[in-house]
């Protein structure tokens, strides 16, 4: 078979794998809708989904569907942001979590929760805006650090941890100073949870997450080249500085959108791109949508697990993702000498 047909067949295989990942996400979403403290089988939930009354209908539409939608938004957002950070910083350990940008978003949200009245009408918007501002701030710190050449993969992550600590202690300070009510809200926020999400929050988050995504997908080839080498990317006609800065801005906006109402959900941004690289490969044209699907599936699954593992308790999703993420993170560290580590 000639080589160009072989390549095209390879592409078809990748598209097939993407469809498979989409199917996995749909199944994870359906499982999430059907299960919880009150579980139904698929058929029952299907009927309840399309009926217009009854307790099951209420549970599904008022409790489950919003969290499923938010899980998909958050998961895909964090995964895409992680993929973009990894490409721009040429660092396989980069993610909103490990770079401290998520903690930046966290601090932004905390400060808004702290300063604004609980019943202030536009509170949600301020929480989102403040989260975005601090995400940008921490991203810009990381980007300027990355410009100094002596920073290796490991030291950059250490810098990320430093930023994470900075924002975490700032957040703790506000907790310390806060009233009982504020502290409750903040602590709950830090566990990471989908329980408090309503349609209003989903509206804001979906704008922040879905709007920048097409732009990032459009830059797939630029990310392919920048992940390898800035100079040859420039020589191949890419405006590297522009792609980097707007890429970081988009990824930060997405991170803030994913995090500002759900709290800190770790490891999705780092784990998802690596899973997709193993399955589909490096090309960002397939990697970005693939990571979005895997991220969404992981958050959906983690949320469902958190709801059914200790009923009637709902384990916050941030705790569950850490249980999945930490072993995988160690696995990546062990694997470093083999493939994409230098």
């Amino acid at each position: 078979m000639n080589i160009s047909n072989k390549y095209k067949k390879n592409i078809k295989k990748k598209i097939l794998l993407l469809s498979f990942l989409l199917l996995v996400m749909v199944i994870a979403a359906l499982t999430g809708i059907s299960n919880g403290i009150e579980s139904f089988d698929f058929k029952k939930s299907f009927i309840a989904f399309f009926s217009d009354a009854g307790l099951q209908h209420k549970i599904i539409w008022e409790l489950r569907v919003p969290r499923i939608v938010m899980a998909i938004l958050t998961g895909s957002g964090l995964a895409v942001a992680g993929t973009v950070f990894q490409a721009i910083l040429k660092n396989p350990l980069a993610s909103p979590y490990t770079l401290g940008t998520a903690s930046g978003a966290g601090f932004g949200a905390v400060i808004a929760i702290f300063l604004l009245d609980a019943d202030f009408l536009y509170k949600d918007y301020f929480v989102a805006g403040s989260a975005f501002f601090f995400t940008m701030l921490s991203s810009l710190i990381i980007l300027s650090i990355a410009k100094i050449k002596i920073f290796t993969n490991e030291t950059m992550i250490l810098a990320g941890i430093a930023i994470m600590f900075l924002f975490s202690s700032l957040s703790s300070l506000f907790q310390y100073l806060g009233t009982m009510e504020q502290v409750n809200e903040i602590v709950f926020w830090f566990f990471g949870s989908l329980s408090k999400v309503g349609w209003n929050e989903i509206g804001i988050a979906s704008v922040m997450i879905l709007l920048p995504m097409p732009l990032l997908f459009k830059w797939s080839w630029s990310f392919n080249l920048i992940a390898a080498d800035d100079e040859s990317a420039k020589a191949l006609g890419i405006d590297v500085e522009k792609v980097k800065i707007f890429g970081i801005v988009c990824a930060s906006l997405i991170t803030a959108g994913a995090i500002c109402f759900t709290g800190v959900i770790g490891f999705i941004g780092i784990v998802s791109p690596h899973i997709v690289r193993m399955l589909i490969g490096y090309n960002h044209r397939f990697l970005l949508p693939g990571a979005a699907l895997v991220g969404a599936s992981l958050v959906l699954t983690a949320d469902t697990v958190g709801r059914i593992i200790l009923p009637p308790q709902v384990i916050p999703i941030g705790i569950v993702t850490s249980f999945i993420g930490v072993p995988f993170f160690f696995y990546l560290l062990m694997k470093r000498t083999k493939d994409y580590w230098r």
């Binding site: 080589i3 390879n10 997908f217 390898a228 100079e231 191949l236 006609g237 890419i238 490969g281 090309n283």
Partner: protein
Amino acid sequence: MLDIQNLFFKYKKKFVLNDITLSINKGEILSVIGINGSGKTTLLKSIVNIIKPTRGRVLIKGRDSSKISRLERAKYISYLPQNIPFKFPITVFDVILMGRMPYIKWKPSERDINATSEIIKSMNFEDIALKNFDHLSGGQKQKVLLARLFVQNTDCLILDEPTSSLDLKYQIQIMEMIKNLVKTQKKSAVIAIHDLNMAARYSNKIIMLNSGKVFCFDRPEKVLTKENIKTVYKVQTVINNDNDFLQISPIKVID
């Protein structure tokens, strides 16, 4: 084809490039030689506009290259850096396909894929085409990167030490490939190179840099003389001209 006029590059108050003027015609190879830190790589990067020269102009086919957009420029001039550190696994096919970047919007066209396939066939890469680039040997990697340069299909090719750290076979293969392309398709190539014998054998012209200035710019036998090498490299040499090309043998360092 390519005209460099009074190029200056200043870094930390020091001129790394100082008034460089040179030109190269169709079907010619120009070698840039000089000791480490003489400004070879800086010159190449300024020609490709990866770094902006402090003063001076680069004309490609008579057009001022700084007035052309980056994407448009990538259709006229291509660049092979000294080394490319790929951190993520990527197939050989995709590495070469990247050379079509100036022509690709989001989805590579049939033409891009065919151009890539053709060069893969002509360089006998069929067996490794869908393998991980990182698993290749140094020589094979360099040939793949050269294929990427060729598939970009520009009139000017700028190469930074394409043969350094390769064994003899690959050194000759790479230089022959560049020479064939330049001769048959009437392209121009500028090559930074350390090996004076290679430079002597494959270049039409040589530019010898000495601390950012043009020390000498002429045909190989005019540039590669005992005296020039002694002044610039501080090395005593014996030069043979028995065969078709010059042979330079270093004897000892002069302090």
